[in-house]
Amino acid sequence: MVNLLLENGDLVVIEQSDFQQLLDVLAERTYQVVGPTIRDSAIIYDEMTSYTKLPIGWTDVQGKGTYRLKRREDDALFGYTVGPHSWKKYLHPPVSYLWRTNTTADGFQVTTAIEEPPKLAFIGVRACELQAIAAQDQVFLQGRFVDADYKARRENIFVVAVNCVQAGGTCFCASLKTGPKATSGFDLALTEVLTGTNHYFLVEIGSSAGADVMQAVTHQPASPAQIEAAEALVEATTQQMGRTLEPLDLKELLYNSYEHPQWDELGERCLGCGSCTMVCPTCFCTTTHDTIDVTGETTAHSKKWDSCFTMTFSYIHGGNVRTPLRSRYRQWLMHKFATWLDQFGRSGCVGCGRCITWCPAYIDITEEIRAIQESTNKQEEKIGGKL
């Protein structure tokens, strides 16, 4: 055990055989550890105390509307990409209570229902997911209206990021510069290296909390060769992306394409099911609802994930402002790649590919955007030719 005090930015190595120590140390510090595990033929996020619950030796094969698990030829702990769940289920839960009321002798009493949030350690957060958390931080923590529930949950997490050493079939983080390497927003960032008999993790310390945890886990200083091996793997991932997207001038292009025929075509295919918005790690919309028990004694005010694909979402006094599927799909895509930029100064998409994998109508946003880009290019060529 090396006893030099670790600092932010330090690079160390832990052997695969010592990996369990990391989970144990986090548990000792009263974190509930959550990470990727297999359920119903997919890799989802759930609680774990032992690293053996990780999808060891598994990978995922993703494409338009399809997701399948496949055996790997090695015993990698993190040899897959993102699945149907995202960390927003912990930070921005699907359903949460805002307040409750009870009838009292002289009226009623209101109690805010924000519970003490669980202290969670996220294991295996990918670069795109860190960016998605950063995007939701902007939504919930900036400006005049801070979401107290989100804030409390957000302050209580420890993040163990994992750099991708293999790209997924629907990923395009490289195009958006949101991955595959974690650059900020983590306490520890791991790169898994598995060559022949070597199986270790290069660990980058990202915070003092991270340094404190690593101090208690058996580790060695990283050698230049180990650092280089890890960097080469992440670099190779950039070259393997399943999808690409050209973000240059995209906002302007979309703003000029409100009446593009591609939206009509999408209106034919899209089911309006909202799956894309549910799986998207940046989508943040909710609806609120009051439940009152039959006796009328107690009420609960809750919020739950909503989607711009539902009719009630855009229902205002007198009617619905976005009835055809064409305009609902357009709203979703426009928000991700155009209006989000004006609203928050960044893209609303981090290129995780979930909306492509989990769309039951095989719709791929990168293809749709390309279709609009290409048709516009062609038109410009034509006009150029005429001049």
Binding site: R39, D40, S41, A42, I44, G65, T66, Y67, R68, P84, H85, K89, P94, V95, E268, R269, C270, L271, G272, C273, G274, S275, M278, V279, H289, D290, T291, I292, D293, V294, T295, G296, K304, W305, S307, F309, T310, M311, T312, T323, L325, T357, W358, C359, P360, A361, Y362
Partner: protein, 262 residues
């Protein structure tokens, strides 16, 4: 609005062509049933008691579809005597599984089934309650969900609008964190065109949704059928899946007819 009523609101349940499963859902409400029983006067519940308090009624829960000339008259009476009419279940909402007769000549069936079909007095088609009277709220499902039943009763008693989603099952499925059976297993699922409300029961048991809550708002059934074909479903299977307990609901009816080869 009901809160002004000083006496307990009167609740009655009416049964038309149905299996009674929906009114049994009310009995299935366990603890909540006691609160309901405390909050309303149950004036008529045929599955429980034959006594029937006289109308008018504040809330009428109507189960079943209209299949006979007698039912046609009776349902008018129910409307006339009720402040709120809430239909419960797929039969009342779209015509039920018995609406399969709508795709054939009903006399053919009565001839096969009954020794003396001339004694059978039945209508050509099985139709939803809303085809005949004004309905205030409709609860989908086969059977209805007890949570929605409690929601609608408590909303009407307290004078607020009940929350009855019309969006897709996929939203409920995803909120629960259920792994999509269509994308991850290749199992055909009707969830993307079906109303939420059941809590994604079938997908949570690794089965595809078979649409018992009926079509969601603006159901794009044509696009979903295309995906089903890509997953290997035959034309016949597509016809059958849309001819379940909501066969007569317009989007499902249209879709099954589009895949039927004459």
């Amino acid at each position: 609005m009901l809160p002004q009523i000083k006496r307990k609101p009167k609740l009655a349940v009416w049964k038309f062509a149905s299996c009674s499963g929906c009114q049994l859902s009310l009995l299935d409400c366990e603890d909540d049933l006691l609160s309901v029983a405390g909050a309303v006067e149950i004036a008529n519940l045929p599955e429980v008691s034959r006594t029937m308090a006289k109308g008018p009624y504040d809330i009428s829960l109507v189960e079943g579809s209209i299949t006979t000339p007698a039912a046609l008259e009776h349902v008018q009476e129910v409307r006339h005597n009720s402040k709120y009419v809430v239909t419960i279940g797929a039969c009342a909402m779209s015509g039920g599984i018995q609406a399969l007769r709508n795709f054939k000549d009903v006399r053919e069936f009565t001839r096969i089934v009954y020794a003396q079909p001339e004694y059978i007095s039945t209508l050509e088609k099985s139709t939803p309650i809303s085809d005949h009277i004004k309905v205030d709220y409709e609860l989908a499902g086969c059977p209805v969900s007890k949570e929605q039943l409690i929601e609608v009763i408590s909303a009407l008693i307290t004078g607020r609008t009940p929350e009855i989603p019309t969006s897709s099952l996929c939203l409920e499925c995803k909120r629960r964190g259920v792994v999509c059976v269509m994308s991850a297993h290749g199992t055909p699922c009707l969830g993307p065109v079906t109303r939420a409300g059941c809590g994604a029961l079938c997908p949570s048991y690794n089965r595809g949704c078979y649409g018992c809550y009926g079509p969601k708002e603006r159901a794009n059934t044509a696009s979903l059928s295309k995906h089903w074909s890509q997953l290997g479903a035959t034309e016949e299977q597509i016809v059958r899946v849309f001819r379940g307990c909501n066969a007569n609901a317009a989007p499902f009816k249209k879709e099954s007819e589009a895949h039927e080869h004459h």
